[in-house]
């Protein structure tokens, strides 16, 4: 049981290291998805939000870790 829990924990760790970064990425994806649904005439807006949002999330996470 412990071994399988460890394996599952390590598998989750493949995608989530800094929880705040993972949550921010998910938030960016959700906002981009909402924009894609609500403004179908401007599909590139969702793409721009996705790209800029992910870059901003990365820089913010790095700066935050750098300050610790």
């Amino acid at each position: 049981m412990t071994a399988s829990t460890n394996v599952l924990r390590e598998l989750a760790g493949l995608f989530v290291d800094d929880g705040a970064l993972a949550l921010t990425i998910m938030a960016v994806v959700i906002v981009a998805g909402l924009v894609a649904i609500l403004i179908p005439d401007a599909p590139l807006a969702a793409g721009a939000i996705l790209l800029v949002g992910c870059l901003a999330a990365l820089v913010w996470s790095v700066i935050k870790a750098g300050q610790c």
Partner: protein
Amino acid sequence: MTGSLALVWPVMAAAFLASLVEAVEALTIILAVAIVRGWRPAGLGALAGLLVLAFIVAILGPLLDHVPLRLLQFVIGVLLLLFGMRWLRKAILRAAGVIPLHNEAMAFATETAELREQARRNEERLDWLAAIATFKAMLLEGLEVVFIVIALGGGRGMLIPASAGAVFACLAVAAVGLIVHRPLARVPENTLKFAVGVMLSAFGVFWTGEGLGVPWPGADFAIVGFAAIFLAVSGAAVALVRRPKTEALS
């Protein structure tokens, strides 16, 4: 068509480099176990891990054909963003000296020390523990390789080039490991992780956007532009948080 062909080499290169990192990490643990306890438990554990991995691929592989393409692109895009940006964040922090560099020689020394300590405490169970260590290493690092192959290749029918890149990387590391019998400490792991993090993040933005129906300018070539943007921003982030080397080591 041209767009899809343009993806073959980036997909193969990304799968090769990412799998190279994972294979080096697995090799370090397998070598440590083999040196402390012999090749038999190390090899049996690794083989069992490989068989479980093959079983998982055989079960999950055919299911991919039944998932709608847009949904598949979106899901693997999001997973690639989480996976790639996690790698990229860590590589940036290591390059900036905020956290210490990963050291295969040190990982090897730690693993052998742990196994020797286990041997001192419980000699008769050691073969079993040694086999579990290599089983776990092969399974976990292998799952990462499988994920990378599916994530890079699944979104546009590029599973063959992605698999070829991954298989070539694993065979190359296994061959070098068998010859030198030492952890591959001279592989510039952080540089590889930086490059792979950039590529996986670029693919992640691209696939997630495709899944959302974004008509990227330049079609598949947009990935190259995203990679260049991620590289530039990551380089700037390194400069922004850079610390002196002595501070990172403490």
